[in-house]
């Protein structure tokens, strides 16, 4: 039994991988994530928001299962970023989320939200999931699942199985992007067995590409 399987069998609680590590793992497998950095001050937030829209997020083990609405601010510019930073910081302290960090992230172009996730099954190992993202994933449960590693056929059939296929991938270019992304994620978890769970929720599919704006990896 591998270490990972032993972990699954023992039902050990997984922990959240630090954002930097998750981000560098994504980059290594060619998965596109928005430019981001940790911010320590009001000024830092304003500087990061220069000439673009940004999001600020509190990153903490304790904020994992909370509704994230309170600890994330979206669509900030250089004028609003500083105040948003201060209010987020105060809120995190107030809600006893320490230790925490605040991450500033470049906003993605608008588009369709999808979810790609993986987990580790006792019997079959790494599984990968695709679905329409945002609020819809819970409501419609329109998701498809395969065991990793997946090939082109698997990825294509995952997509074509979804009722929301035409929403997620309205043209062949976006279809190719989803398929390629699915395969990259599969490759990533297969070669990094210690990744117990991964959530890319949402990935924003826009006209010219995609952006995995929220990455959560449990190890």
């Amino acid at each position: 039994m591998s270490k990972t399987n032993a972990k699954v069998a023992a039902g050990k609680a997984a922990r959240l991988l630090e954002y930097d590590k998750a981000a560098s793992l994504m980059k290594r497998f060619g998965i596109s994530i928005p430019r981001a950095e940790y911010i320590n001050s009001k000024e830092g937030a304003e500087r990061f928001a220069q000439d673009k829209r940004i999001a600020l997020k509190v990153i903490s083990d304790k904020a994992l299962h909370k509704s994230q609405s309170g600890v994330i601010k979206l669509g900030l510019d250089s004028k609003s970023a500083g105040a948003a930073y201060l209010s987020l910081h105060a809120k995190a302290v107030n809600e006893k989320l320490s230790p925490f960090k605040i991450l500033a992230q470049e906003m993605s172009e608008p588009g369709t939200e999808i979810i790609i996730g993986t987990n580790t099954d006792k019997q079959f190992g790494k599984l990968i999931l695709l679905g329409l993202g945002g609020i819809y994933v819970e409501v419609f449960k329109d998701v498809s699942v395969r065991a990793c590693p997946i090939n082109d056929y698997d990825a294509e059939s995952m997509l074509s199985e979804l009722k929301s296929k035409s929403v997620i991938a309205p043209d062949s270019a976006s279809e190719k992007r989803v398929i390629s992304l699915l395969k990259k994620v599969s490759d990533m978890v297969v070669s990094n067995e210690w990744v117990m769970e991964l959530d890319l929720n949402p990935v924003i599919m826009h006209k010219t590409g995609y952006s995995a704006v929220d990455v959560r990896i449990m190890v």
Binding site: D121, K122, Q123, F124, G125, L127, S144, V145, R146, A147, N151, Y153, D154, S157, E161
Partner: protein, 471 residues
């Protein structure tokens, strides 16, 4: 495990029955009686520590006293004794064993099951079970089941292997299969899968020339990754129709205590089934209904179904059934329409579904079949033959059987009804024409066939090649 060693369970030349008894209430009695009843041609050695003779044959106190080569030992005594008996088998050079006794991991006695595995490894002796019914081989006439022959109808010989983790599901389905049109190659009930597990069995059946398709009832796999790899190769050459117990969390709990299966999540099983072309039967009805179409029919080239009916309303229901199952009504070619117009009476509308009228007789069926079976725009054919109508009689059944033999397209008959209909249904089924009681049952089975056909079409290039490379 080398799958070839499993062959000994099905084709033994000599069998020892440990626990064979004169007492008809004992499992060992029934098993031995079955061996005699089905006409097993090899040697039988009853083992019983208290009897001189069992069922007229010389009995031995211990397997070690036999002093001859034994290919298979069937162990029909309780768990603790079974372990000692297995060790004796190993010492005497017995080549394989089936343990029907329960009382192992399924009731928490992991220690006894571990001992059993140890003995198997020590003597290099494959063991089926424990907690199982064993096997039935229709050709070699081996039957290790402890179910009296008069209580259970035995299926005829055919190309379907039926594998069941559960003995109870196994024996009921076996009884039901004997009333279906198809025959069995082998029946295997493998219980706790302590040594021989589902992967070994599939590997064996993949190489078994008598087996064309596999019906499988499973509660859980033991080696998930290996199972995936095996199924991927298997489904390229033979279909597997899989009913999985324990899909709900509660059912899964029941299964765990039942055959000590390691449960994975239901979602994972469904994903793997879909990914590697397993035909997923939602229940036992599906298992039998799908088995029937897969056993006799070719793969389908597409989803367009031609419907020929002698009842309008049933044709409407059948059309609904097609579309609710993701199938489509075929649109006949212009040539077919012209030809049908010539041979059908004026009251018949020449379009799909083709309603030939309640007075349609065998000649009208033949005229329609002649044209529709040749039409390239139909991938499959559903014939609704209502035997309650004045025109339908044995000649219609014979006509359908004839046209079935002239076409490569998958073809099924829908014929609901009582005794008169049943007589004809049996006639058609035993001639290899699948008959369904309702349009929706037929459509479900056709969809299952189509899904598998599409899977093979889409993956042959990927997995088919990989298989050749490995040879």
């Amino acid at each position: 495990m080398d799958y070839r060693k499993i062959n000994l369970l099905f084709k033994p030349k000599s069998v020892a029955i440990i626990g064979a008894s004169e007492n008809p209430d004992k499992v060992g009695h029934v098993i031995m009686q079955n061996y005699i009843d089905v006409g097993f041609s090899g040697k039988i050695y009853p083992i019983n520590k208290d009897a001189e003779k069992v069922l007229g044959m010389k009995a031995y106190k211990n397997i070690k006293d036999v002093g001859a080569q034994i290919d298979l030992a069937v162990i029909a005594i309780p768990a603790e004794g079974a372990i000692r008996a297995l060790d004796d088998c190993g010492k005497s050079g017995v080549k394989s064993a089936i343990v029907v006794a329960s009382g192992f991991s399924e009731i928490g006695r992991d220690d006894l099951q571990a001992e059993l595995v140890e003995i198997s490894e020590k003597y290099n002796m494959p063991i089926l079970g424990p907690n199982c019914l064993g096997v039935m081989d229709m050709r070699s006439r081996v039957d290790t089941m402890f179910l009296p022959t008069f209580k259970l109808d035995k299926p005829k010989i055919g190309g379907v292997a039926f594998v069941s983790q559960s003995g109870a599901v196994g024996s009921t389905v076996l009884d039901m299969i004997s009333h279906e049109g198809f025959g069995l190659s082998k029946f295997i009930s493998y219980g706790n899968a302590a040594v021989i597990d589902e992967v070994d069995l599939l590997e064996y059946l993949l190489h078994d020339d008598d087996t064309k398709i596999v019906l499988f009832y499973m509660e859980g796999v033991k080696r998930g990754r290996k199972f995936m790899e095996t199924v991927k190769r298997f489904t390229q050459s033979k279909p597997i129709i899989m009913a999985k117990g324990g899909i709900t969390p509660e059912g899964s709990k029941a299964a765990h205590s039942h055959t000590a299966s390691l449960a994975g999540s239901a979602m994972a099983y469904e994903a793997v089934f879909k990914q590697y072309g397993l035909v997923h039967a939602k229940d036992i009805d599906d298992l039998l209904s799908f088995g029937k179409i897969f056993e006799t029919e070719n793969l389908s080239q597409g989803k367009r179904v031609a419907i020929i009916t002698n009842g309008g309303g049933t044709g409407v229901l059948a059309t609904d059934a097609l579309y609710s199952n993701g199938l489509e009504l075929a649109e006949l070619s212009g040539g077919s329409a012209v030809a049908l117009r010539k041979v059908m009476p004026n009251i018949v509308n020449v379009r799909m579904p083709l309603d030939m009228g309640g007075d349609a007789d065998d000649k009208r069926f033949a005229a329609a079949m002649d044209i529709v079976t040749k039409d390239q725009s139909a991938d499959m054919i559903m014939v609704i033959s209502l035997f309650q109508t004045p025109g339908a009689d044995s000649r219609v059944a014979a006509t359908l059987i004839h046209y079935k033999s002239t076409t490569d397209k998958p073809m099924v008959v829908v014929s609901p009804g009582g005794n008169y209909a049943q007589v004809h249904n049996q006639m058609m089924e035993s001639s290899g024409l699948p008959v369904y009681e309702s349009p929706s049952a037929a459509a479900r089975a056709m969809k299952a066939l189509l899904d598998y056909s599409n899977y093979i079409r889409d993956t042959r290039g990927i997995y088919g090649k990989a298989q050749k490379r490995q040879k």
